[in-house]
């Protein structure tokens, strides 16, 4: 398929045709551009933080500037990059195609979601411009409600608004997956990518409203000067934490579940085998979503909640390890005796499994009450959640972007640069965050711009790693952009992968399929062997053939 034929990219080229589009594929592109912008913003804050931490003294900035920087980094990265990353970009693009639908169930609502998201983002950017916020991304009361003299309301409003974008996206996914599956695409033929997005959507619609109302209460408290969460006025600060983490712990699974979906696709494709234990992997995703709502108290082991509650939350948190391990073991079992091709997306997927395992195992350690008390609010926590939220989630996002890039853009990127960047990201990430486990265990608390001199060597390693990581993230930005113009054209199915998205053209036509596909085989029906040279290459030959036909 050549680009001169009709596809969603050349179906209108005016700004209006992009900003008023209801095509889920174009909306996905809008999200991709927006969250890349937010990622650069949040990344810049991280750079400044790591620069300050090169030396034990607070010599580059004052404490309150540092507080604003890590708050900004957290808020932007969590709410405006990680949460929308895979669902809003890849999910938006792929879910209708993967199930054989023409669009999402509510195309206009999909576009509205993007506008709501951008409005929330605008509030956050204004917050930064007028002076920032210093409460951390968690907005703990009563500091945020009574004492902080920064722009708490503005920042909270941004998150409140962006939350409705998540809710509407989740709603759209659920209805789409339920009702718009093509003939023959029954539930247990759905790609695991779709299953994990279904689980993610459940969290979107059930968790996000609670965060919204919590932030609204925070706003009321700040505006009226009442004490809903202020103990000095009769309020209960723990209530805020309960409500906040009721959403924000599931939110971590919003970031990781879609990544698990991406990795499932990559594992099957690059091992040339059906995914091992498909049903278990699908149900494990739902299991994680359900459990995610029962573990929020593990953020509050030292906050003064009852020890008995702590014990129950500790136990429930450990249960999350079961479905997570089901997934990891099934991915490795998928590779067993497979024909493994170490293409760029697969390198990212393997990196994901490694980093997720470290992040997950340290998560079990943290679910243990006494150990958590020891490392609470130290760099150990920072390292743990970065292994999940950055190591795993961003690895999966990049892996997915590389895997579906030929489908999304119709172009092939440089495989060599792709592999290099995957390795640089993996190496840089570990150098940046592994030393933080040590730092935390030795007792370096998080959220301070100064630290005792004996910790410096670990902080230098971390800052060096962060620099390499940053480079690793910038590389794809360059060569992927480069490929848009200079990359070879992609065939419809450059990876020889299974799934409906590979049966339509690259890039897909506006309504995804010329004729509605009919599904008559199980998912991941891999079997035919391929030579490595066949995988992931452009198809200049076919292009010539068509030209020759025209000439004759």
């Amino acid at each position: 398929m050549t680009e001169s034929s009709n596809n969603y990219l050349n179906d209108g080229s005016t700004i209006r045709s992009w900003l008023l589009t209801t095509d889920h594929k174009r909306i996905a592109i809008l999200y991709m551009v927006s969250i890349t912008f937010f990622f650069l913003f949040g990344g810049a804050a991280a750079v400044l933080i790591r620069l300050e931490l090169l030396t034990p003294e607070g010599d580059m900035m004052r404490a309150d500037t540092y507080n604003k920087l890590f708050s900004l980094h957290g808020i932007i990265m969590v709410f405006f990059f990680l949460i929308p990353s895979i669902p809003s970009v890849l999910g938006n693009f792929l879910i209708p195609i993967m199930i054989g639908a023409r669009d999402m169930a509510f195309p206009k609502l999909n576009l509205i979601s993007w506008y709501i998201f951008m409005t929330g983002g605008l509030f956050s950017l204004i917050t930064i411009l007028v002076g920032g916020v210093d409460t951390g991304w968690t907005f703990y009361t009563p500091y945020s409600s009574t004492y902080a003299n920064t722009y708490v309301l503005l920042a909270a409003a941004g998150i409140f608004i962006a939350g409705f974008s998540s809710i509407l996206t989740g709603l759209n996914f659920i209805v789409t997956i339920h009702l718009l599956r093509a003939p023959g695409m029954h539930w247990f033929r759905l790609p695991l990518f779709v299953w994990t997005h279904y689980a993610t959507s459940l969290i979107f619609v059930l968790g996000t409203p609670v965060l919204a109302v919590t932030l609204a209460l925070l706003g009321v408290e700040r505006i009226l000067g009442v004490g809903i969460f202020d103990p000095a006025l009769g309020g209960d600060p723990l209530l805020f934490q309960h409500l906040f983490w009721f959403y924000s712990h599931p939110a971590v699974y919003i970031m990781i579940l879609p990544g698990m979906g991406v990795v499932s696709e990559l594992m099957a494709c690059f091992s040339r085998k059906p995914i091992f234990g498909y049903g278990f992997v699908a149900m494990a995703g739902l299991g994680i979503a359900v459990l995610s709502f029962l573990v929020w108290g593990h953020h509050m082991f030292v906050s003064g909640q009852s020890v008995y509650a702590g014990l129950v939350f500790s136990f429930l948190s450990m249960l999350v390890a079961i479905p997570s391990a089901v997934k990891v073991f099934n991915w490795t079992a998928t590779m067993y005796k497979g024909t493994i091709f170490l293409k760029t997306p697969m390198l990212y997927a393997l990196g994901f499994i490694g980093l997720f395992t470290v992040g997950g195992l340290t998560g079990i350690s943290l679910a243990t009450l006494p150990f958590d008390v020891h490392v609470h609010d130290t760099y150990f926590i920072v390292a743990h959640f970065h292994y999940i939220m950055v190591g795993s989630a961003v690895m999966a996002y990049l892996g997915g972007i590389h895997f579906w890039w030929p489908k999304i853009t119709g172009r092939i990127y440089s495989e060599w640069w792709g592999r290099v960047s995957a390795l640089v990201v993996f190496f840089g990430f570990n150098l940046a965050f592994f030393p933080q486990f040590v730092l935390g265990y030795l007792g370096n608390p998080r959220r301070y711009h100064q630290y005792p001199g004996e910790f410096q060597v670990f902080h230098i390693m971390s800052s060096l790693g962060a620099t390499i990581l940053g480079l690793g993230y910038l590389l794809p930005l360059c060569y992927l952009t480069w490929s848009l113009k200079y990359g070879r054209r992609a065939s419809d199915n450059p990876w020889h992968a299974k799934g409906l998205e590979w049966e339509t053209s690259s890039p897909p036509p506006t309504h995804n399929f010329v004729t509605t596909p009919i599904v008559n085989e199980p998912p991941y029906n891999y079997g035919q062997p391929h030579r490595e040279e066949e995988i992931g290459e452009g198809e200049p030959a076919k292009h010539h053939v068509e030209k020759a036909e025209v000439e004759s």
Binding site: V205, A212, I228, L233
Partner: protein, 228 residues
């Protein structure tokens, strides 16, 4: 005379759908999910209510004594009657065969519901006005002196009114949207040639309206009927 409406052929079909039934199912399913998010939204507030009522029982008793049970009961009745009328309209618009043109009855029912919604909001605003006048609006100027005898310690009575104004306020916000929607769909049905066109719309708006009613059915006893 018998009038026949065929809903399947007259609803314009949107791009993602194969047929009218699928489109209707999607619309209604989407609304149910939205209502689930609303339940969670209010759910956070109900949790806060439970926590503070458990912590400050005396304050809730004393605060509730300043609310008018009569007014609350009338508001409840008004809402329930409105819901009944919406439910009847929904049955009428879906019925394929009618003895007479159902449009008149549907529009009348919805117009009455809109009016009842306005009555509800008027009663609520009046009560808020009274309470604010007596100094019960939360904030530094809150009239704590009125509760000196009640045995409610600290600023706990303020917490009752904090929750009261926030929860009834949020409910009223939903009511205002609901009144606009019911009024809007009534107008649309009054003007259209073919009422079946708006059947899905009426069903969804009806679902929303019933949801807002149900929230009130919980708010009324929680605030007005605290043991006197």
């Amino acid at each position: 005379m018998s009038i026949q409406y065929s809903s399947t052929q007259t609803v314009p079909l949107a791009l993602p759908y194969d047929n009218a039934d699928q489109q209707r199912e999607a619309a209604v399913f989407g609304m149910w999910i939205f209502l689930a998010t609303e339940v969670l939204f209010f759910g956070g507030l109900f949790v806060a209510y439970i926590v503070y009522r458990y912590e400050y029982p005396a304050a809730f008793k004393a605060g509730s004594a300043h609310l008018s049970i009569m007014s609350g009961a009338v508001m409840t009745a008004v809402l329930l009657l409105g819901s009944l009328l919406v439910a009847i309209s929904d049955v009428l618009i879906r019925r394929r065969v009618h003895d007479s043109d159902p449009r008149k009855a549907i529009v009348r029912n919805l117009a009455i519901t809109t009016f009842l919604g306005v009555v509800f909001l008027s009663l609520e605003f009046y009560e808020w006005g009274q309470l604010i006048h007596e100094g019960f609006f939360p904030g530094p100027q809150f009239n704590l002196a009125r509760f000196a005898e009640s045995g409610a310690g600290g600023r706990s009575p303020e917490m009752f009114f904090c929750l009261f104004f926030f929860m009834t306020g949020l409910h009223a916000f939903h009511m205002i949207i609901g009144v606009a929607l019911i009024g809007g769909v009534a107008t649309a049905l009054y003007r259209t040639d073919n009422i079946a066109r708006h059947a899905n719309l009426l069903e969804n708006i009806g679902l929303y309206w019933h949801f807002v009613d149900i929230i009130w059915v919980f708010l009324f006893p929680l605030f007005y009927l605290v043991e006197a």
